[in-house]
Symmetry: C2
Subunit: 319 residues, 2 copies
């Protein structure tokens, strides 16, 4: 993949038309904010432009998606936003995986699958990059674009809570508020609203809470029975893996999510002071220092015991 | 109270020495951030300066408080930060209530109790005003000051979630990050850490959850028995009044906190679309559109019923 500057990308987009903007499957706020934000901006330059995703866009993003009427055209230029790897395209857009013209991303792990692109792993959200491109392309950011960009930044930084929220993230968010972004509404919808199913699954999960190693390790499970009982869907469990680690004094949080009888998808979390990726490597998985994952095939008690044993070693720096 | 400009305040502080900076009782992050931030800055100008509070500063602010060694001196200039009313002084500082030289605040309701002052109700946090004064006084903001100011802004805006977080809030926060504020650590300690007692009281409170009026009204209680059972202290219940309103579809959240047998401190919350202050006025209380409070003397079931009846009227716009 040939690396372009942001100026070159702005110029390139000014020259192209009939542009398809691909999002990753299971789209999140940054994916939606980037794809809709850049499409809104390119439409203001008179282009045909549409976002496309293999999965439906969740209805909570309707304040963004409803502002971009559908357009039909024969795609002539394919770009991706916030996609690190073609494996994240999903069924509906897989057809484009060998013909991506331009990739804009903020994942260090980007595989360089496009002809040309720009990857900045230091941007907390890909939407920060999109905001810069829109400005360089000479498009005035209006309220709809500002809402899209703000959503991307706010959701990917956990409402500015995570360490990836840099001063740039805050500053571009401030610019978007000045352009009319309804920051309070967006943050309330994204971070201050729980479905009853979510509330119920959280309660059930917390009932399973156990502590180990002088309360420095905490483990919970999400069983299929809990999912049925609460009526929760998969996306109601988003972020639940963060709960055990939030408890005061807990260094390692373990979440065992039962995907099938005796098959657990495991999430390990720390506050960054303990490296949990080693725990998951013991079971064929991996990840980052503060967040890692793996799959364990065993009955719950055994899976938990093996994980806790590995976590004890990680605490001592032995992994 | 004579209104000063920020320039005049910076000049005044440059001229004064032996400065006492008063915080309100039950100090929060903005109080601590303002008082310690301005004291750190004034010390850099060679002044004697100490923050003082009627209540102990919670240990979670230790990363701020530990950076300012105690000083003993005869106070010659008394200033207040983030205090709207002398009633908030508390026992230890009540002696100063008639001799405040300078008041810096961001509450519209400020009673003007000082000789001179500056009140800006549009600042999300009082720490935003303090940051401006420090810059105008010609003090270079270092990491400790930046941590104090960032804490004030982040805590008073609910981690940038509430509608009082303006573009100014985000921009000053960005400046503080550039000056070295450890934003991720601060936000994790303030917003991503729960004591086990807090976790337990939350679970018990959610067990009491009831819905009314097609699930548009949700009510919970905090009983003395729950407090005992969970081992929670009063400050473990901070923010619990926000929980019922967070549930999808709920327009009015009611929290009945049992202070004594048959005495309930009531908190009403909405997302701002329904005015809940009228509900509390029915019972001799009051507050804002989105957050109001009152006290009801009655057994739980009766208190709840009377509240729900009033909330039904508020929903219909009849209050």
């Amino acid at each position: 993949m040939k690396e372009l500057t942001l100026q070159e990308i702005a110029l390139l987009l000014q020259q192209k038309d009939n542009i398809l903007v691909l999002m990753h499957k299971s789209p999140d706020g940054d994916a939606v904010g980037c794809a809709y934000g850049i499409c809104m901006a390119l439409r203001k330059l008179g282009k045909n432009c549409m976002p496309v995703c293999s999965d439906p866009i969740p209805s909570k993003y309707e304040y963004i998606t409803s502002k971009l009427p559908p357009q039909e055209f024969e795609p002539a230029f394919i770009m991706t936003v916030d996609i690190a790897d073609t494996q994240l395209f999903g069924e509906k857009t897989a057809v484009y995986q060998d013909r991506v013209d331009l990739c804009i991303d903020h994942h260090f792990s980007n595989t360089g699958f496009a002809k040309e692109g720009y990857v900045d792993g230091k941007s907390g959200a890909c939407a920060e990059i999109i905001a810069k491109i829109i400005e360089l392309a000479g498009v005035e950011i209006d309220q709809d674009i500002a809402n899209a960009i703000f959503t991307g930044i706010s959701t990917d930084t956990g409402c500015f809570k995570y360490s990836n929220a840099s001063s740039q993230s805050y500053r571009i968010a401030a610019d978007m508020i000045d352009k009319g972004a309804d920051s309070a509404y967006i943050n309330r919808i994204m971070f201050d609203t729980k479905s009853r199913q979510r509330l119920e699954i959280e309660r059930l999960v917390l009932d399973s809470l156990e502590f180990f190693e002088e309360d420095k390790i905490a483990a919970v499970c999400i069983t299929k029975e809990m999912m049925q009982k609460s009526g929760a869907a998969d996306d109601d469990t988003d972020g639940i893996a963060g709960l055990p680690r939030q408890i005061e004094g807990v260094k390692i949080g373990l979440t065992l999510n039962e995907k099938d009888s005796g098959v657990f998808k495991v999430s390990c979390r720390s506050a960054g002071d303990v490296d949990v990726s080693g725990i998951c490597r013991c079971f064929g998985g991996g990840g980052h220092k503060a967040a890692a994952g793996c799959v364990i095939n065993a009955p719950y008690e055994e899976a938990k015991q093996r994980l806790v044993d590995a976590a004890r070693k990680a605490l001592k720096g032995e992994l």
